[in-house]
C-alpha cells in the first residue's frame, strides 16, 4: 500500500471517453523538472508561483514535436492535494492526446500512478483524514448520482463534521463531570444531572440515526444485487431487458458494452441496482429443468433481494411457486408472475385467488404491466424506507464508521445506566471517555488537555 520511495507519479485524471478536456496529473519531487522538460510557454514551470495557471505547449523534448496546446496548473507542496509538488496539464479532450502527454511524463521521470495513489499520498501526508480518503475511493466507484452525492458530502467532511460535532458534545459533558471531579474545593454548586441526561439522549438519538443510516448508505454505495431466477422460459431475459430499457443504463465506461452480458446496473429511485439475468449464465454439461435454480445458486447467495419469476399462463404455476420458494428458503425475494398480459381478466382474478397464499405480483415483460409497482417493492424490500438520502442528512456508508459509532453508542448506554444508578461522576466519565475514544477513528483523538481546556474556559478555577 505505502510507497516506500520518493518517486513521482502521473496519471490521466479525467475519466476515459471523449470529453471537452482531459487532465494529466503529476505529483512528487520531480514534477517541476518533468514540467520544465515538456512544457513550452512564457515561463519555466519550476519558477512559477504556486497555484498559478499558464498557457503553453506540450512538446516531446527529444524532437520538439508539438503534442497539444494546454493549460498548466502548478500547486507546490505542501499546499496541494497530496502535499507534494503537483502539476495538472489540461489538454484538449480525447484519450489519444492525454495518453501522449502521460507517456511524455513517464519518459521524463514519472511512473504511472496506481489506482488511488494520489489519494493515498494525500492521506499519508496528512492533507486529508481517513474518512475523506475513504470518501474519495467511494466517489471513484460511485455509480449513480445519488451515491455520488452521498460520497461528495462525505468528501466535504460531512461525516467527519457530523461526528466531530457529536464528539464535541460528548467532550462538553465530559468536561463538566471532570470539572466537578477535579476541583472539589471550587465554588461550583452541583452539576445539572437532568440537563446532562437530556444532552446525553440527544447525542444518543443522533448516533443511533447515523448507525441506522448505514444500511441505507451501504445500498447507496455498493448498490443492490438483484438476480432474476426461475424456470427456463418464464421470461427472465425479457424482464431483464424490459427493466433495462425503462431505466438509464449506468455503466458505459467500457466501450463495446452490450446487452449480452448477464448483469447490468440500473437506477431505481437513485439506488444503483445490479440486475442479473441468471438465464445468461451458461453452464457446461447437461442441465435438467428442475435444476434451473441451481445454476443461479451462487448469485442467490450473494443477492440482496431475488426476483423470483413464474409464468402466469403456466397451468402448473402453483407447483412451480412451491418448488421455487422452497429452494429460495430464507432468502429475501419478490415473487413475480410474468406474462400477465396473456390471460384474460377473469382468469387473472381466479389465479389471484388460488395463489393468494403466495400473492405474486402480476407483471408483463412484454407490456410493462406491474413494473412500476415492482420498482416500489424493490426499494421497500431493500429496507430503504426512510429515504433520508433524499434529504441533506449525513449517511454512513462505511462499515468502519458504523462500527465505531455502534461501539460509542454502547458506552453511552452504560453512561445512561450509570446515571440511573446515580454512579459517581468519575464512573460516568470513564464511559464517556470510552465513547469518545470509540469515535476516535472518525474524529481524531481527544487528549486530557482538550478536556482541561474546556474546563478552564468554562469554570473559574483558582484555589
Amino acid at each position: 500500500m505505502i510507497s516506500y520511495s520518493e518517486d513521482t507519479i502521473a496519471a490521466v485524471s479525467t475519466p476515459p471517453g471523449e470529453g471537452g478536456i482531459a487532465v494529466v496529473r503529476i505529483s512528487g519531487k520531480s514534477s517541476k523538472q518533468i514540467a520544465d522538460r515538456i512544457f513550452r510557454g512564457r515561463i519555466t514551470p519550476s519558477e512559477a508561483g504556486s497555484h498559478t495557471v499558464h498557457f503553453g505547449k506540450i512538446v516531446d523534448p527529444d524532437s520538439e514535436e508539438l503534442v497539444d496546446e494546454v493549460l498548466l496548473t502548478v500547486m507546490w507542496g505542501p499546499n496541494s492535494y497530496t502535499a507534494e509538488d503537483v502539476i495538472e496539464i489540461s489538454s484538449h479532450g480525447g484519450q489519444l492526446v492525454a495518453k501522449k502527454i502521460l507517456d511524455l511524463c513517464l519518459k521524463t521521470g514519472a511512473r504511472h500512478a496506481l489506482p488511488g495513489e494520489f489519494t493515498q499520498r494525500a492521506f499519508l501526508n496528512g492533507t486529508i483524514d481517513l474518512a475523506q480518503a475513504e470518501a474519495v475511493a467511494d466517489m471513484i466507484s460511485a455509480r449513480t448520482d445519488m451515491s455520488l452525492r452521498s460520497a461528495a458530502r462525505q468528501l466535504g467532511g460531512n461525516v467527519s463534521q457530523t461526528v466531530a460535532s457529536l464528539g464535541n458534545k460528548i467532550r462538553n459533558l465530559l468536561a463538566l463531570l471532570e470539572a466537578y471531579t477535579d476541583f472539589p474545593e471550587e465554588e461550583m454548586g452541583h452539576a445539572d444531572i437532568q440537563k446532562l441526561t437530556d444532552d446525553l439522549n440527544i447525542i444518543k438519538d443522533e448516533i443511533n440515526r447515523l448507525v441506522l443510516s448505514y444500511e441505507e448508505g451501504k445500498v447507496l454505495k455498493s448498490g443492490l444485487k438483484l438476480p432474476i431466477v426461475g424456470r427456463p422460459n418464464v421470461g427472465k431475459s425479457s424482464l431483464f431487458n424490459r427493466l433495462l430499457d425503462e431505466s438509464r443504463t449506468i455503466v458505459t465506461e467500457i466501450p463495446g458494452t452490450t446487452r449480452d452480458t448477464v448483469s447490468e446496473f440500473i437506477n431505481i429511485a437513485g439506488i444503483p441496482v445490479e440486475l442479473i439475468d441468471t438465464a445468461g449464465i451458461r453452464t457446461t454439461g447437461d442441465v435438467v429443468e428442475a435444476e434451473g435454480i441451481k445454476r443461479a445458486r451462487k448469485e442467490i447467495e450473494n443477492a440482496d433481494l431475488v426476483l423470483a419469476l413464474v409464468d402466469m399462463t403456466d397451468p402448473e404455476i402453483l407447483d412451480d411457486i412451491r418448488s421455487l420458494t422452497e429452494a429460495l428458503g430464507s432468502v429475501n425475494y419478490i415473487l413475480l408472475a410474468n406474462k400477465a398480459d396473456l390471460i384474460d381478466e377473469t382468469m387473472l382474478e381466479a389465479r389471484k385467488i388460488s395463489l393468494a397464499e403466495y400473492n405474486p405480483l402480476p407483471v408483463s415483460a412484454e407490456t410493462g404491466i406491474g413494473l412500476e409497482q415492482l420498482r416500489d417493492l424493490i426499494i421497500k424490500s431493500a429496507g430503504i424506507v426512510k429515504k433520508s438520502s433524499l434529504k441533506d442528512e449525513t449517511i454512513i456508508t462505511n462499515v468502519r464508521h458504523r462500527d465505531a459509532l455502534s461501539k460509542g453508542l454502547g458506552f453511552l448506554d452504560k453512561v445512561e445506566q450509570g446515571l440511573e444508578e446515580k454512579a459517581s461522576y468519575e464512573f460516568l466519565a470513564f464511559d464517556l471517555k470510552n465513547a469518545v475514544n470509540a469515535l476516535e477513528e472518525i474524529i481524531g483523538k481527544t487528549t486530557p488537555e482538550d478536556i482541561l481546556n474546556k474546563i478552564f474556559s468554562q469554570f473559574c478555577i483558582g484555589k
Binding site: I2, A83, L124, T181, D182, Y425, F430, G462, K463
Partner: protein, 627 residues
C-alpha cells in the same frame, strides 16, 4: 579551587532536591546536597499545604516508593481533610494544612541526619561534561565537586524575577537571591529553555482579621495517615476560614489593572490557568459576583495567614485596598505583598521518563525546571531522579513507571511527550486509568519497587504482605458468608430470598463493610484499611474489571518498543513535521509516540508499519550507517 568527590550531587534543597538526595543516599550512594541556605531546606514557597485532588495521590505514591513527603506531612500537619468523599474511591484525596515552619524543620532534619548525605551551603553555577557524561559540578563559592550524577532541582531560582506591580526584584523567592548563570551554561550545552510564571498571594497578619463573619472549615476526625508507614497523624489543631471577594473588590482591581505586572505586559512568562491571579479571575469571569478566599493558618505558633485564592501581581497599595473590601479583612495588615515570579525552565521533552536528560548522561532535571508546579509534582520527580541516579551508579537498569501503574507514570510520560504551555499540574482527569490509580492502593501498586530499591524497610514490607494476604482471604470469605435480608436497607429488592451472601449484600447501594462486619467476628477484627480495600474491590468490581482489561490492552502499545537507533526519516509516509517531532522527542514506545501532540493516528499507522518492517530485518539503511 577546592575539589570534592561525591557519586551524586543534588543542586537545590526544595521538595524535589530533598527527595532526590534522601533516596540517592539511602540507596547507598555518597551524595551531596548543595543549596543556598541551610535554613530553607524543604521550604514551602507558596501555600502551606500538602495534597489535594490528584496531589494526594502523588503523595501516597511517593510514600509507597519510600519517599519522605508523606511521613513529613503526617508529623507536621495542623489540619487534615479528605476531599471528594461524596464520590467514588478513585477520586477521594487527602489534603493537609502544614505548619510551614515545622514542615521545613522536619525535612531539614531528615536531610542533615541522613547517612551518606552531606550538605553544602553554596550554589551550583556550572557543570563539567566529559564526552557526553557529566563529570563535575562547579559552585559559586569556587568549589569543584567531581561526580557521576548531577541532579538539578533549581525551582523558580533560575534567573528568577519577582514582579509586584511595576516593581521588579531579581529573586528566587521573596527575600532570597536568584540563581544566575546556570541557565546560560545549560543553554550553551544545547538545552532549550523557556520562561514560566507563577504567583503567590500576600501574607496576612491573623491578628488583624475578623473571623466572626467568615465560614469555618474544620479537619476530618477520621483521617487515615498519608504514609503507609505512619501509625498516626499530628492531628487537627487549626481551623481554616472561608470568605469572599465582592463587587467592590472587583471594581478596585479592574480600575487598577494597569498596575498589574500581568496586564501591563511586563511579564513574558506564561502562568497556570488552574491557579490564576485574582486580577485574571476578575477579568476572565466578569459575570461571577464573588470569588472565594480560603484563610489558611501558616502554623500553630504564628499569626500568619495565607489567603488562598488571592494570588496577585498588582501594585502593593492596590492589593491592600482591594483585599480590605473583603468581609473580615477590612482592617487586615500585610506581612508580605503578593507577587508574581518569572523563572527559566527547560522543555521537558529533553528528559527521559527517568528524569535523566537525553543530551548529557548522568544529568537529571527535577521539579519546576521541568516546567511543573506543585510540591508533590516536584517531590515525585526528585524521587525518580534520586532512584535513577543511584541505579546508574550501581550499573542497574533505569526505573520508570507506566501510565497504568502510577500518577508518577502519567506525570513523567506527559512531561516527555506534551508541549509545555503552562506550568504542569496533576489532575485526576489526566490519568486514563484513574479508576485503578487510587490513593488506597498506592501500596499495592508501588511498595514492591520501594522495597526492591531498599527505600521501604523490611518490617513495613512484611506488614504489607501480611495485610495483602488477609485482604485476599477475607475477600474470598464474603462469598461464603450469608446475611439476613431484613438486616439490609428496607428498599432493597430481595427477590423473595431471606439470605444473601456478604458479597451480594456489599453491592447493594448504601450497604458498607461496616454494616457487614457486625455480623462476622473475623471481619470485625480486620483493620479499617483492609476493610476499606475489600469494600472497594467488591462494590466497584464491574468498573474495576473493565478498567483492568483496558489497561491490558493499553500496555501492549506501551511495550511496543521503538529501537533507540530507529530513524524516522526512513518512514517516507510520515509527515515531515511528524518525523521531525518524533526524531526530536524520541519516544521509547509506540504508546508514547501516539500521545505526542500533533502525531495523528495516521502517523502511528505508518510508524507501526515501518517498525514492523524494521524489526523484520529491513535494517539495510542502519547497517550502512554502522559501517
Amino acid at each position: 579551587m577546592t575539589n570534592l568527590h561525591y557519586e551524586i550531587v543534588v543542586a537545590g534543597g526544595g521538595h524535589a532536591g530533598a527527595e532526590a538526595a534522601l533516596a540517592a543516599s539511602r540507596m547507598g550512594c555518597s551524595t551531596l546536597l548543595v543549596s543556598l541556605r541551610k535554613d530553607t531546606i524543604g521550604q514551602m514557597s507558596c501555600n502551606p499545604a500538602i495534597g489535594g485532588q490528584a496531589k494526594g495521590h502523588l503523595v501516597k505514591e511517593i510514600d509507597a516508593l519510600g519517599g519522605e513527603m508523606g511521613l513529613a506531612i503526617d508529623r507536621t500537619g495542623i489540619q487534615y481533610r479528605r476531599l471528594n468523599l461524596s464520590r467514588g474511591p478513585a477520586v477521594h484525596s487527602s489534603r493537609a494544612q502544614a505548619d510551614r515552619k515545622l514542615y521545613r524543620e522536619y525535612i531539614t532534619g531528615a536531610v542533615l541526619n541522613q547517612g551518606n548525605l552531606d550538605f553544602l551551603e553554596d550554589a551550583v553555577v556550572d557543570l563539567e561534561v566529559n564526552g557526553s557524561h557529566v563529570s563535575a559540578a562547579i559552585t559559586e563559592g569556587g568549589r569543584k565537586i567531581n561526580c557521576r550524577c548531577l541532579i538539578i532541582t533549581a525551582g523558580t531560582f533560575l534567573n528568577g524575577l519577582i514582579h509586584i506591580g511595576r516593581k521588579k526584584i531579581p529573586a528566587g523567592r521573596m527575600g532570597e537571591k536568584p540563581s544566575l548563570g546556570l541557565s546560560e551554561k545549560l543553554i550553551a550545552l544545547g538545552f532549550k529553555s523557556g520562561r514560566l510564571k507563577t504567583g503567590t498571594p500576600p501574607r496576612l497578619d491573623g491578628k488583624t482579621i475578623d473571623y466572626s463573619r467568615t465560614e469555618s472549615q474544620y479537619g476530618d476526625p477520621d483521617f487515615p495517615p498519608f504514609s503507609f508507614r505512619s501509625n498516626s497523624i499530628n492531628g487537627n489543631k487549626a481551623i481554616c476560614h472561608i470568605t469572599f471577594t465582592n463587587q467592590d473588590t472587583h471594581r478596585i482591581i479592574l480600575d487598577n489593572l494597569d498596575s498589574s505586572a500581568m496586564y501591563s505586559g511586563q511579564i513574558k512568562g506564561i502562568g497556570p490557568r488552574y491557579c490564576p491571579s485574582i486580577e485574571d479571575k476578575v477579568v476572565r469571569f466578569r459575570d461571577k459576583d464573588r470569588h472565594q478566599i480560603f484563610l489558611e493558618p501558616e502554623g500553630l505558633d504564628t499569626d500568619l495567614i495565607y489567603p488562598n485564592g488571592f494570588p496577585t501581581s498588582l501594585d502593593e497599595e492596590v492589593q491592600k485596598k482591594a483585599i480590605k473590601t473583603v468581609i473580615g479583612l477590612e482592617e487586615v495588615e500585610f506581612t508580605q505583598p503578593g507577587y508574581a515570579i518569572e523563572y527559566d525552565f527547560f522543555f521537558p521533552y529533553q528528559i527521559y521518563t527517568t528524569t535523566e536528560t537525553k543530551l548529557i548522561e548522568g544529568l537529571y532535571f527535577s521539579g519546576q525546571v521541568n516546567g511543573t508546579s506543585g510540591y508533590e509534582e516536584a517531590a515525585a520527580q526528585g524521587l525518580m531522579s534520586g532512584i535513577n541516579a543511584a541505579l546508574k551508579i550501581k550499573n542497574e537498569k533505569p526505573f520508570s513507571l507506566l501510565r497504568s501503574e502510577a500518577y508518577i507514570g502519567v506525570l513523567m510520560d506527559d512531561l516527555t511527550t506534551k508541549s509545555t504551555e503552562e506550568p504542569y499540574r496533576m489532575f485526576t482527569s489526566r490519568a486514563e486509568h484513574r479508576l485503578y490509580l487510587r490513593e488506597d492502593n498506592a501500596d499495592e501498586r508501588l511498595f514492591k519497587y520501594g522495597y526492591k530499591f531498599g527505600l521501604i524497610a523490611e518490617e513495613h514490607y512484611q506488614k504489607f504482605l501480611e495485610e495483602s494476604a488477609e485482604q485476599k482471604k477475607h475477600r474470598q470469605s464474603l462469598k461464603r458468608l450469608f446475611i439476613e435480608v431484613k438486616k439490609l436497607p428496607a428498599d432493597f429488592l430481595n427477590n423473595g430470598r431471606t439470605k444473601i451472601t456478604f458479597e451480594k449484600a456489599l453491592k447493594v447501594p448504601g450497604v458498607g463493610i461496616d454494616l457487614l462486619k457486625e455480623y462476622d467476628d473475623a471481619l470485625a477484627e480486620l483493620s479499617g484499611r483492609i476493610l476499606k480495600k475489600i469494600e472497594i474491590e467488591v462494590k466497584y468490581q464491574g468498573y474495576l474489571e473493565r478498567q483492568m482489561r483496558e489497561i491490558e490492552k493499553f500496555d501492549k502499545l506501551e511495550h511496543e518498543r521503538i529501537p533507540d537507533n530507529f530513524d524516522y526519516a526512513f518512514c517516507k509516509g510520515l509527515k515531515t513535521e511528524a518525523a521531525e517531532k518524533l526524531n526530536r522527542l524520541r519516544p521509547a514506545t509506540v504508546g508514547q509516540a501516539s500521545r505526542i501532540s500533533g502525531i495523528s493516528p495516521g502517523d502511528i499507522t505508518v510508524l507501526t508499519i515501518y517498525l514492523k518492517k524494521f524489526k523484520e530485518g529491513l535494517r539495510v539503511a542502519l547497517k550502512e550507517k554502522e559501517h
